[in-house]
Amino acid sequence: MLKNVYSQISITSSVFAEVVEKGWGLAGSIETERAMHEGWIKVLDVVDKWKAREMAVTRRIHLANAETVQLAREVKASILLADEKEVRELAAEFGLEVRGCLGLLAEAARRELISVKEAKRDAKRLIEEGYRISEEVLKEFYIMLGSEEGK
């Protein structure tokens, strides 16, 4: 589904190491590896490594998270995909648009790449798999999808 929403995705080598190497066999590892073979996910390295390091140290955040934000700035990404609070906060400071799992589903439904039914089913699966959003957030998600249904 992700491939249809965004044509090109870049990840840092830290993210690759975390998801594919360390996380082999776990959620997302095989999918990421396949997407890299297909060429729509690319591993890119941050050019200004010092900037990333500086942000990590001064904000006391993970270097990998700072690198992700720095990479998004360098490649002038239109959207930064992240569900980590540290990444989202830092990205917001630079005016980068952030999209999490749930926002991604909402956007896919909005662009009619998936049906409302599929979006609801996938959201339920996310919650079961540990992405336990609050009732308030889920309600807002349903409202959004509801407004899509009416079209």
């Binding site: 975390e18 998801v19 360390k22 996380g23 776990l26 959620a27 997302g28 590892s29 955040i61 993970h62 990998a64 998270n65 569900d83 980590e84 609070k85 540290e86 989202r88 906060e89 952030v98 999209r99 999490g100 749930l102 926002g103 909402a106 956007e107 909005r110 662009r111 079961e128 798999e129 540990g130 992405y131 336990r132 959003i133 609050s134 308030e136 957030v137 807002e140 998600f141 409202i143 959004m144 407004s147």
Partner: protein, 75 residues
Amino acid sequence: MKMTVAIPERIKEKFLNEILEMYAEGEISAGKAAEMLGIPRAAFYQLLAEKRIPLPEKLNQSILKELKKLETKKD
């Protein structure tokens, strides 16, 4: 020589619960928590699912903001 320290199960359990609580309270990120436990991030999310740990409130608010922004965005 490889050193191994025998840590009683109840202490491991306590450490794990402490980290899960810190994550839920928003004191540490998922990446940090996974690192402290010595497991991949994806495994940490599995733990969150098993233990039914809610997302930190700050993250919920951030997602809510994102959805609302998306709703008003013109295509």
